[in-house]
């Protein structure tokens, strides 16, 4: 009798332990799936865009393989924008004549500041944070900053 009771409880113990392991396993998988884990970073480093003297006012500089462009405004400010279209992720092209970004996929258009001129996109192009280090412009490519509209604070000025 004693023995029998013990054996049942051992069985139940094993069952419960297995269930517990399984639950942890499932939660871990769900966590992975829904991205609660730390994602792989695109890059840890700042991207060195060049010496600050090398940029001309009113010009766009394209870093295609990094997927962004740097706009040097007429007043000497800088705006680094992601070239990924905010609609469905194609890379936008730049039309120099009209100073617009145009997406080949569903023809969304953005102005020089990245604001939407023509749908279906409705968010402006994402930004990257620009900073100055040792007289060189560095762009933080680790995170694209989403924005709902354009404002002056987004422009980087060095004084």
């Amino acid at each position: 009798m004693d023995f029998k009771e013990k054996s049942i409880s051992r069985k139940r113990f094993i069952k419960k332990a297995l269930l517990a392991v399984l639950t942890i396993e499932v939660f871990w998988l769900l966590g992975r799936f829904f991205g609660f884990h730390k994602g792989k970073k695109r890059t840890d480093k700042l991207f060195d865009a060049g010496s600050i003297q090398s940029f001309e006012k009113g010009k766009f500089y394209f870093y295609r393989s990094q997927g962004f462009c740097l706009y040097c405004l007429d007043d000497g400010g800088f705006l680094a924008m992601d070239l990924k279209c905010t609609h469905l992720g194609c890379k936008v092209n730049f039309d120099r004549e009209s100073q617009r970004f145009i997406c080949p996929c569903h023809s969304s258009a953005f102005n020089a500041m990245g604001e939407v001129l023509s749908s279906p996109a409705y968010r402006p192009l994402d930004l990257y944070v620009v900073m100055l280090e040792d007289n060189r412009l560095k762009v933080d490519l680790s995170k694209a900053v989403k924005r709902s509209d354009f404002n002056i604070k987004q422009i980087f000025y060095h004084s």
Binding site: G35, L88, C105, H106, S119, Y122
Partner: protein, 410 residues
């Protein structure tokens, strides 16, 4: 040889069949021809696997080599391409056939659901296969579709990253798509298709009207003969297409730049057109889900009036209503597209544009339905069919507009 083919076909069929079940205008042979296309795809797919390399560096080159240096390579690739294209078309037509010939009710309801799973699998095959050549068109098309998934509430990002194995389409995605296309999906398709065919037999063959039942003939030669003729015609058609029209291959994928002109394959042209005008959450996710729910409830609606196996449920007036609904949906869709192109796209945010267009569409459609219900005292069955005609009519219109736009005619 012929004898063994005959034996094989006899294995799938009962020894004797209803004479009215094997008339051409019963099934148009669409299901049967789809089965043949599936086998042709399996065969050519296995051959393509001998040369294709699922690696971002080598995939495009392997297709190019196949095209230029392999004696029958191009032909085999073209046959695979054309069979897939025709299978997409035939599965949709087959779906329309079973729906309108009232063959989805009662004991056939279950098979309708298996059919929906098959439809999903066929599209999944097309989508995953599309990426494999790793050219510009396929790379960006898959990017766009994956980004539509991201708009799915809450789990969208996780879903897209799971599909792509990463944040964007990469060599990991290619491996994943390759495995899905040549490993997972074929197994699933084989299982579901076997059940599908078995369920047709279990329902005592294709649906025919009660009064046409009772005249049995031998499957061989009557049905077998017809099937062989259909096969022959299909083989000739596909071979001809494959000799004269090559499967497309654009320039190698370039992750930094989208080509100036980029178009979706024809079976996604309607979706692409829809996404031009309305928000991806609505156009790419909510509307397709709504349509799917509708397809799930369709075989449960209006059961007391169903005349199983009778095309369009038999009434003249009903056919006229379908035609009316079709014209109505085509006009409404064209009107909305023109409106969107001319005014909404440049002056409104897409969110307001979407709210506007979706409400106009649904208000007008509801008005149309209420009008029918009031004045003609229509039943649940015909309402469900008319709703189907309205949605499908709109989608087909969008597809045609999208194709015309791609061809730069409009």
């Amino acid at each position: 040889m012929l004898n063994s083919i005959k034996r094989f076909l006899l294995h799938l069929h009962p020894p004797r069949v209803e004479i009215n079940a094997i008339k051409l205008n019963r099934t148009f042979g669409l299901g049967g021809m789809s089965v043949f296309l599936v086998s042709l795809l399996a065969l050519t797919g296995i051959l393509l696997r001998f040369v294709y390399v699922p690696d971002a560096e080598k995939a495009y080159r392997s297709i190019e080599l196949l095209n230029h240096f392999n004696s029958a390579g191009r032909l085999i690739r073209n046959i695979h391409y054309w069979s897939a294209t025709i299978l997409c078309l035939f599965s949709v037509l087959h779906l329309l056939r079973v729906l309108f010939s009232q063959a989805i009710y009662f004991e056939r309801k279950k098979n309708w659901y298996y059919g929906l799973v098959l439809m999903f699998l066929v599209f999944a095959f097309c989508f995953t296969g599309y990426l494999l050549p790793w050219d510009q068109v396929s790379y960006w098309a898959v990017t766009v579709v994956a980004n539509v998934l991201r708009y799915f509430p809450v789990i969208g990002d996780a879903l897209a990253s799971f599909l792509l194995d990463g944040r964007f389409v990469s060599e990991h995605s290619l491996l994943r798509f390759y495995h899905l296309h040549t490993g997972v999906l074929p197994v699933l398709l084989f299982m579901v298709l076997s059940i599908h065919i078995w369920l047709v037999r279990k329902a005592k063959g294709v649906a025919i009207p009660q009064e046409q039942k009772g005249q049995l003939v031998n499957t061989s030669p009557h049905l077998v003969y017809k099937e062989l003729v259909a096969l022959l015609i299909l083989i000739i058609a596909i071979t001809t297409l494959s000799i004269f029209f090559n499967a497309p291959l654009s320039t190698p994928a370039n992750l930094d730049r989208v080509p100036e002109i980029i178009t979706a394959p024809w079976y996604f042209a309607g979706m692409q057109e829809l996404l031009l005008h309305i928000h991806p959450l609505v156009g790419g996710i909510l509307l397709p889900i709504a349509f799917l729910i509708f397809l799930i409830v369709v075989p449960k609606m209006g059961l007391d009036e169903v005349k199983v196996g009778v095309w369009f449920n038999g009434s003249r007036q009903l056919k006229k209503l379908y035609a009316l609904a079709l014209i109505f949906s085509v006009l409404l869709t064209v009107l909305l597209v023109v409106l969107s192109d001319a005014i909404i796209k440049d002056s409104f945010n897409v969110i307001w544009g979407t709210v506007f267009m979706v409400s106009v569409y649904f208000v007008t459609v509801s008005g149309f339905l209420i009008f029918l219900l009031r004045n003609l005292n229509r039943s649940m069955l015909s309402i469900s069919m008319i709703v189907f005609v309205l949605f499908t009519g709109s989608y087909i219109t969008l597809t045609i507009i999208g194709l015309l736009r791609d061809a730069q005619i409009i």
